[in-house]
């Protein structure tokens, strides 16, 4: 059975060694790798902080609205931008609604957009990266030219233009952020696939007559997966920031409260000039918490998986 700590230790190799004898061992090593990453992340201060923050945000998003339901239509014109009170723990917004409840109701949007948009980016990025790296030749040249092209396009102006042209609802926002966030992933996955393709165990199974599809599915994909995963966690932070920014600029989903739209209305209603800090501080703190949760965890995973990266980002 798997004995933890056999090939591990922080400096140990992450991907299975080239030419692992049997597939079973390979799978075991992989499991070991994941467990090692988990242990390393939970042992690291940054990683622990990230995981704890993540747990807090998930709890807030799931339980918050159940305990403190938010009624978006409970507009009260006699209580506009009121400071915190026993009745309204975080005061009221520009329409006299409870900021604390609104804050909790908005929590899930960041998570949903971040995860869904990143899923799109990852599928695109991994698909393009693996195809380019494994197929090589013209597919590699062509796909990498396309990737480089999208890499230099400034993401925010593009996302703004797309969201403005194609309408404002959560799914379009997810699609737009997801479709613009894949180039870095494609680059990283490609270089890993390139090196895998030439490894001994891949050439061996190919000479045994394994089809390309099988090699990709059984040998390449599982070995690229950890890398994709580390990258994913870091990309999520960017996607969440993109959603918040779009919403702040007034391109958010009008029927869906998010932290970004709350800040949009705080800014538009002059909450800053009036010193209504209870309205514009909580949503920002929320955004920073989610992004920080993913950045810290991702940073920690990255360091656990790439010993060479230790000390850099």
């Amino acid at each position: 059975m798997v004995r933890p700590g056999v090939t591990t230790g922080l400096g140990g190799p992450t991907a299975p060694e080239p030419g692992s004898p049997a597939l079973a061992t390979e799978a075991a090593e992989r499991e070991l790798g994941l467990r090692r990453v988990w242990r390393s992340v939970t042992a690291d201060t940054m990683g622990r902080a990230g995981l704890i923050l993540f747990a807090i945000v998930v709890l807030m998003a799931v339980l918050g609205p159940l305990i403190f339901p938010f009624d978006a239509t409970a507009v009260n014109s006699s209580e506009l931008l009121q400071p915190p009170s026993p009745q309204h723990w975080l005061g009221t917004d520009e329409l006299g609604r409870d900021v604390f409840r609104e804050f909790l109701a908005a929590a899930h949007v960041s998570l949903v957009v971040g995860l869904a948009a990143t899923a799109i980016s990852m599928v695109l990025g991994a698909g393009i990266g693996i195809t380019a790296g494994y197929h090589g030749r013209w597919a590699d040249t062509g796909l990498m030219r396309i990737t480089d092209f999208f890499l230099v396009l400034p993401q925010l102006p593009l996302v703004i233009a797309l969201a403005a042209f194609f309408g404002q609802n959560l799914w379009i926002i997810i699609l737009v952020i997801g479709m613009t966030g894949w180039p870095t992933t494609a680059r990283i996955v490609r270089s890993q696939t390139l090196s895998l393709r030439e490894r001994q165990f891949v050439t061996r199974v190919r000479s045994l007559g394994a089809s390309n599809l099988r090699i990709l599915r059984v040998h390449v994909l599982p070995n690229v997966m950890p890398l994709i995963f580390a990258n994913t966690v870091l990309v999520i932070g960017g996607a969440i920031l993109a959603e918040a920014t779009l919403s702040f600029l007034g391109l958010g989903d009008p029927v869906q409260v998010s932290w970004g739209t709350m800040l949009h209305f705080a800014f538009q209603s002059g909450a800053i000039g009036r010193g209504a800090w209870w309205f514009f501080i909580p949503p920002g703190v929320g955004i920073v918490m989610v992004v920080l949760a993913f950045t810290l965890t991702g940073h920690s995973i990255d360091q656990a998986m790439n010993p060479r990266l230790r000390g850099s980002r």
Binding site: F149, P157, L158, G275, P283, G284, L292, T295, G311
Partner: protein, 324 residues
């Protein structure tokens, strides 16, 4: 000779990419369903005659290929359409706003790079100690801050609460200046908070890149030689390590430009700085599509050119690049 070949290849790639950006822009915003007629119709009821009229004005009655050629020809003549809200050619508008953005971005970028590299080098030289881990933690937190929210907080604390800096526009409204110097001083005061915001959110890149790069160089043999020669540690660090560690910083600078452009849109919105970003924000609120589209084109071209310049700089700094 190879130097010119490298330059030639880069120029060809630049021209091809520029062409693709323009075409991408056309396909995305002219051919796909979001065409001007539909967008105009969304804002109100249009009679069939009006639709036909608009279709003719925008040349939408031509086949796609012809529209594309008309679009390219217009671009070559600097025609980017007419703004719906300002009722002026978009190119005139961009001309008015672009300069202010350049002022803001130049100030912010130079300061970010200089301060970031300094902080990173100092952190690297004290690796593993309190200052080092504090710098890294602060950088990661800074990276996680939404630019616009950081701006809002700074505007609130330093502007509304402490009244230390102006938070609106580029100059004090209706101000009468005694001298040109006083005017520059006023603009400088208005520049302070937007610049500070951009530095806070973007500096992480440089701190971390410079730090990692210096740490890597410090493990090289020539560093040991320099120390063994009896040079002062300070001289070893700044003359020998930093000089060789600057290449990754050049690359990071090119990557930063995308962030800087995004940051400009957010910061100019928050502080009403009359630049491209504020123009984009107002156009988004008014659904002024020609301006949004043209702004994307301009931003994309600027980013492309900066990347091109950084490639050339990289090549000039590191002769090894030419060989590969």
């Amino acid at each position: 000779m190879s130097r010119f070949r490298y330059l030639g290849r880069k120029i060809v790639w630049l021209v091809v990419t520029l062409y693709f950006v323009v075409t991408f822009n056309f396909v995305l915003f002219h051919l796909l369903p979001g065409n001007p007629v539909r967008l105009l119709a969304r804002s109100g009821h249009l009679t069939p005659q009006a639709v036909a009229e608009i279709t003719k004005v925008y040349g939408l009655n031509h086949p796609p290929l012809e529209q594309y050629l008309i679009y390219l020809k217009g671009l070559l003549h600097g025609q980017l359409g007419i703004s719906y809200t300002y009722r002026e050619p978009v190119s005139t508008l961009l001309g008015q706003y672009l300069g202010n953005t350049v002022v803001l971005l130049a100030a912010a970028t130079v300061l970010t790079i200089v301060l970031g590299v300094l902080a990173g080098v100092v952190a690297a030289s004290r690796r593993g100690r309190g200052y080092d881990s504090a710098t890294v933690t602060a950088s990661v937190i800074g990276w996680s801050l939404p630019t616009f929210w950081t701006g809002l907080i700074l505007a609130f604390v330093l502007g509304v609460w402490l009244h230390a800096f102006p938070i609106f526009g580029m100059e004090t409204p209706n101000a009468v200046y005694v001298s040109q110097f006083q005017r520059i001083e006023d603009i400088g005061a208005h520049l302070f908070l937007p610049t500070l915001t951009l530095i806070i959110v973007n500096i992480a890149q440089f701190v971390l890149v410079a730090r990692a790069s210096v740490i890597e160089v410090m493990s090289e043999d020539f560093m040991l030689t320099a120390t063994a020669k009896g040079l002062l540690p300070r001289r070893v660090l700044w003359r020998h390590a930093v000089r060789n560690a600057l290449l990754p910083v050049v690359t990071a600078s090119a990557l930063l430009i995308g962030l800087v452009v995004a940051g400009a849109i957010e910061v100019e919105t928050v502080f009403s700085w009359p630049g491209m970003g504020l123009l984009v924000y107002n156009s988004v609120l008014n659904r002024d599509y020609p301006v949004i589209e043209a702004a994307f084109l301009v931003f994309a071209i600027v980013v492309l050119l900066v990347n091109f310049a950084s490639d050339l700089l990289y090549q000039a700094l590191d002769p090894r690049v030419r060989e590969s």
